[in-house]
């Protein structure tokens, strides 16, 4: 462990229900050294310091791991090595390890699946001392494990402590007993003891060496057989992700994978997991194979873990076997909320989302300019006004189209991205900042868009080119994408999970929604009456809006500083100053009424700007690691699916949120809701563990987690109850304190008592 203090802090944060009790020095050890740092700490626990011969007595080895590291279950999966414990205790017989239900780790986009434990695990074993044994006995254990994060380190630890064996009833240490009980509750039990029935069907009457097959595992709990009336409990998979609910043992050369799950009516409250498997080419050692593993069940709010041990008929190579079909075997993918959306609804959601996007904080500065544009146009001829509206629409749609095609081609090239992904690229942030500065200078009157020098006289009063409206449309899309809005998240999630023509369709629908208010305004001739005649007030308003744009630039500089460091931030500032100087020179040429020179200057300055942008030292610099970055966040620990599972398994409610520095909606929610004293108090009092996934930079794990909830962008807010770990409350993109408090109350296990 890096330091005991860090360890302690993690524990305090985790708020363990039962903290690990103290042990003698000989019973603590560290293993798997990684430089100066051991990745695993091991402790040896005994139920009590004295024991009576013949009595069942529990021993435990407790492993705590550094953040992000994991050790392996009795079947390590497709890589790794199972953890081993070898005991030497004179006169005692030690039973098998009682493995708590393991977590499923998926690497390389699910190509490598392993089973094990992150953070901590207590491995319990029963021991019985033979009659006649007495006196002080040394209990020794040799623990061997492989611990992996990205790299793997094999480790071993020797632990020992003294046990007094005497012929008098032993009293368990209450603290250790509670600690053991907490972990024992996670050890899978015999299904009969829990009233759970299991059944398996296979796509072949017997599995031969080399066969591929499908299987279904049915889970039911319908009380006493023959009872009348038959009442069945409602069961759900007991993990967040149903494909992790069944963890198979190593089954004599058979590899198994959970492919789907559903709750069909014929199972009366039960559920079904579909599996696919393949037997190795070698004949099985045991011709009467068994399907073994462990299963997590959510039974009307309570988590139960059962051992699976069902027949798996095997046959010799070349034997005649029957292919079996059963409705149970139809592979059904787990529900993806976004995929099940009909297209027309997705389009409607996209349109509504685009419309609402106009009210989100990112688009506001551009919208302000748009409002100003309307005021400017108020007394133009109707034809001109409509042309502007259409140019704005065209700008929005063209940019959306480009964005959709970029997303589609990136995906075709094997890179999956999400909504607002371009802000994960520092050069893009720099380019947008430069464009906003140029635009602000335009509003200050430093230069005019277009080369018609005669128009300069009427600046602020007359018309500006339709080109400008097109450009405003482009800008609106560019600054709008880091925002997610109500409805928009679902629509975009649908798009990102669809083939490319649908991506284009959804993006265009969002564009139509975004442009709609302005286009509508240009189509209604009566609005102009409410706008006063142009005058000097317009020049002042224009300058004011310029400053609003500079405010947006400050935000972009902040993003740059957070994602690429202060060096990159300074480089960007210097670059912006140079861009501003270039624009000023251009403006001066314009005012000198040298349109030819100005034209040449504009082209060369633009080239210089692009050249300068490409040399900005922003892309390579990666100063902060994910965890250091997260320390600067206001609330929560770094998101890890395994740790969320672990917290839920300990019976804690969990709040997970996904955010990014460039997501203004996120930042507004965090400021207004998460910093509220009532919210902080509720999170503390209800024992919530909070995790934060920061998507400021590209992160495949976070993208996949978002996709599980049908989203392609941040924010995403999930409130998990330990009673329903697979069904979190998904909160809307725009949070309020009351809404959030309600969700917390609903998800916390204490809420039932609150009402009494």
């Amino acid at each position: 462990m890096r330091s005991t203090l860090a360890c302690l802090l993690v524990w305090l944060a985790a708020g363990l229900a039962v903290a690990a009790p103290e042990v003698p020095e000989s019973a603590v050890g560290v293993g798997a050294s990684d430089g100066d740092n051991a990745r695993v700490e091991a402790r040896l626990y005994v139920e009590s310091d004295t024991v009576q011969p013949g009595q069942k007595y529990r021993l435990g080895v407790y492993l705590t791991l550094d953040r992000g590291w994991h050790v392996y279950w009795r079947n390590s999966g497709q890589s790794g090595i199972p953890t081993k414990l070898a005991w030497t205790i004179d006169g005692a017989e030690v039973g098998p390890i009682q493995w708590p239900f393991p977590e499923v780790f998926r690497e390389a986009d699910g190509f490598i699946t392993t089973f094990g434990y992150a953070h901590e695990v207590l491995l319990l074993q029963d021991a019985v001392f033979a009659p006649g044994v007495s006196g002080e006995i040394e209990a020794r254990v040799h623990a061997e494990f492989l611990v992996c994060e990205v790299q793997c380190i094999p480790g071993e630890v020797h632990l020992q402590r003294t046990i007094r064996v005497e012929d008098a009833p032993a009293l368990a240490d209450p603290e250790t007993h509670a600690f053991f009980e907490e972990w024992a509750a996670r050890v899978p039990r015999d299904p009969a003891a829990l009233g759970v029935e299991l059944e398996a069907v296979y796509s072949r009457s017997a599995i031969r060496p080399g066969d591929s097959f499908r299987a279904a595992l049915a889970v039911r709990a319908c009380g006493e057989p023959g009872a009348d009336p038959i009442t069945c409990a409602t069961l759900r998979p007991g993990t967040r992700d149903a494909s992790s609910a069944f963890v198979p043992d190593r089954i004599d050369g058979v590899e198994l994978e959970t492919t789907g799950g559903r709750s069909p009516e014929f199972l009366a409250g039960g559920f079904l997991l579909t599996l696919s498997g393949r037997a190795s080419a070698d004949p099985p050692a045991d011709p009467n194979g068994r399907l073994r593993g462990v299963l997590a069940i959510d039974r009307e709010g309570a988590r139960q873990f059962v051992e699976v041990d069902l027949p798996l008929p095997r046959a010799e190579a070349g034997a005649n076997v029957l292919a079996l079909e059963s409705p149970w075997l139809e592979p059904v993918a787990f529900e993806n909320p976004a995929r099940d959306l009909p297209l027309w609804r997705a389009l409607l959601l996209a349109l509504a989302g685009g419309l609402i996007l106009n009210l989100m904080p990112c688009v506001l500065p551009v919208l302000a300019i748009k409002v100003f544009g309307i005021a400017e146009l108020a007394h133009e001829r109707r034809g001109v006004v409509i042309r502007h509206g259409l140019a704005y629409l065209a700008g929005v749609l063209a940019t959306m189209l480009v964005l959709a095609l970029v997303v589609a081609s990136l995906r075709a090239a094997g890179t999956s991205v999400g909504w607002g992904f371009q802000f994960q690229e520092p050069l893009f942030v720099a380019a947008v900042a430069a464009v906003l500065v140029v635009f602000a200078l335009n509003l200050f009157g430093v230069f005019e868009i277009g080369f018609d020098a005669t128009r300069l006289a009427s600046a602020g009063e007359g018309a500006v080119g339709a080109r400008r409206s097109f450009f405003e449309g482009l800008l609106a899309v560019v600054v709008a994408t880091p925002c997610s809005a109500p409805f928009l998240g679902t629509a975009v999630g649908f798009a990102f999970a669809s083939p490319w023509p649908l991506i284009v369709a959804i993006f265009l629908a969002i564009g139509v929604g975004l442009a709609l208010p302005f286009v509508l305004v240009t189509l209604v001739p009566t609005w102009a009456r409410f706008i006063p005649r142009g005058g000097s007030w317009m020049l002042h308003l224009r300058a004011g809006l310029g400053f609003a744009l500079l405010g947006t630039v400050v935000w972009l500089l902040w993003i740059m500083g957070r994602s690429a460091g202060s060096g990159a931030q300074t480089a960007l500032l210097a670059y912006l100053v140079v861009v501003a100087a270039g624009v000023w020179i251009f403006g001066a040429l314009q005012r000198a009424e040298l349109p030819g020179v100005a034209r040449i200057a504009s082209v060369s300055l633009a080239l210089l700007a692009v050249l300068g942008l490409s040399t900005l030292p922003v892309a390579e610099e990666r100063p902060v690691s994910g965890s250091e970055h997260a320390q600067a966040l206001t609330l929560g620990r770094v998101f890890s699916a395994a740790e969320v599972d672990a917290a839920l398994a300990r019976g804690r409610p969990v709040f997970v949120y996904f955010t990014a520095d460039w997501c203004l909606t996120c930042k507004v929610n965090e400021h207004i809701v998460f910093e509220d004293a009532r919210v902080r108090a509720a999170l503390d009092e209800r024992g919530f563990e909070t995790f934060v996934g920061d998507w400021t930079r590209r992160d495949e794990a976070i993208r996949l987690e978002l996709a599980r909830f049908g989203k392609a962008g941040v924010p995403l807010y999930l409130v998990y109850s330990p009673n329903a770990p697979d069904q979190p409350i998904v909160l809307p993109e725009v949070l309020t304190v009351d809404l959030f408090l309600d969700a917390l109350a609903q998800a916390s296990p204490a809420s039932k008592e609150d009402t009494t």
Binding site: S79, E107, A108, C148, Q151, C152, E325
Partner: protein, 189 residues
């Protein structure tokens, strides 16, 4: 009909390149080693081929290389005209890294460069080490661990790969033909 949909799906699946399966023709590949030399499986017919997934940063690989498990076996088998090819699918590996590792360890066989993981996914390589043995007809005959000693504690470990190749050279069948590979997961990109 659901049945017909399932059979259509099965047909579609059959059309996509299937992963390496023991007893079936090994997937063909063309890959370059750290010197840029190209190796094509189809051109190695008549010779048994051993593919050994490796990653110098993995402690399991380190243990075997400091015990010379692979070097010795490759040298012995090389005398019987068996081609030994290491494969590195680690996303961060470069030919220069491979050359440095080769110089430090002093082994002779080439290491195929697979930083994008294509070959690894084609063969379903999950761990380092993970070894595949292909016979002279291009059929995959063994897949799995190098030996039966994951923890490196056995006095006389059974070398599955050596036994599998010996069985092939004696025109027999490897037994076992599949074992559970052990080690670090392959560090795919």
């Amino acid at each position: 009909m659901n049945g017909s949909i399932v059979s259509i799906l099965t047909l579609l699946l059959a059309a996509t390149p299937s992963p390496a399966t023991v007893g079936k023709p090994a997937p063909d590949f063309s890959a370059v080693d750290e010197t840029g030399a190209t190796y094509e499986l189809a051109k190695l017919r008549g010779q048994a081929v051993v593919l050994e997934w490796t990653n110098p940063d993995c402690p399991f690989v380190e243990r075997h290389y400091s015990a010379d498990t692979m070097e010795k076996l490759a040298k012995t088998l090389g005398a019987s005209d068996v081609v030994w090819l290491a494969v590195n699918s680690t996303h961060s590996n470069t030919p220069a890294d491979t050359k440095a590792w080769k110089a430090a360890q002093g082994f002779a066989y080439p290491t195929l460069q697979d930083a994008d993981g294509t070959l690894g996914h084609l063969y379903g390589a999950r761990t380092t080490p993970h070894v595949f043995v292909i016979d002279g007809q291009g059929v995959l005959r063994y897949a799995g661990a190098i030996d039966d000693d994951p923890n490196g504690k056995a006095a006389a470990p059974v070398n599955y790969v050596g036994n599998a190749v010996a069985a092939l050279l004696a025109s027999g069948a490897p037994d076992p033909s599949e074992t559970k590979p052990y080690g670090c997961s392959v560090k795919y990109k």
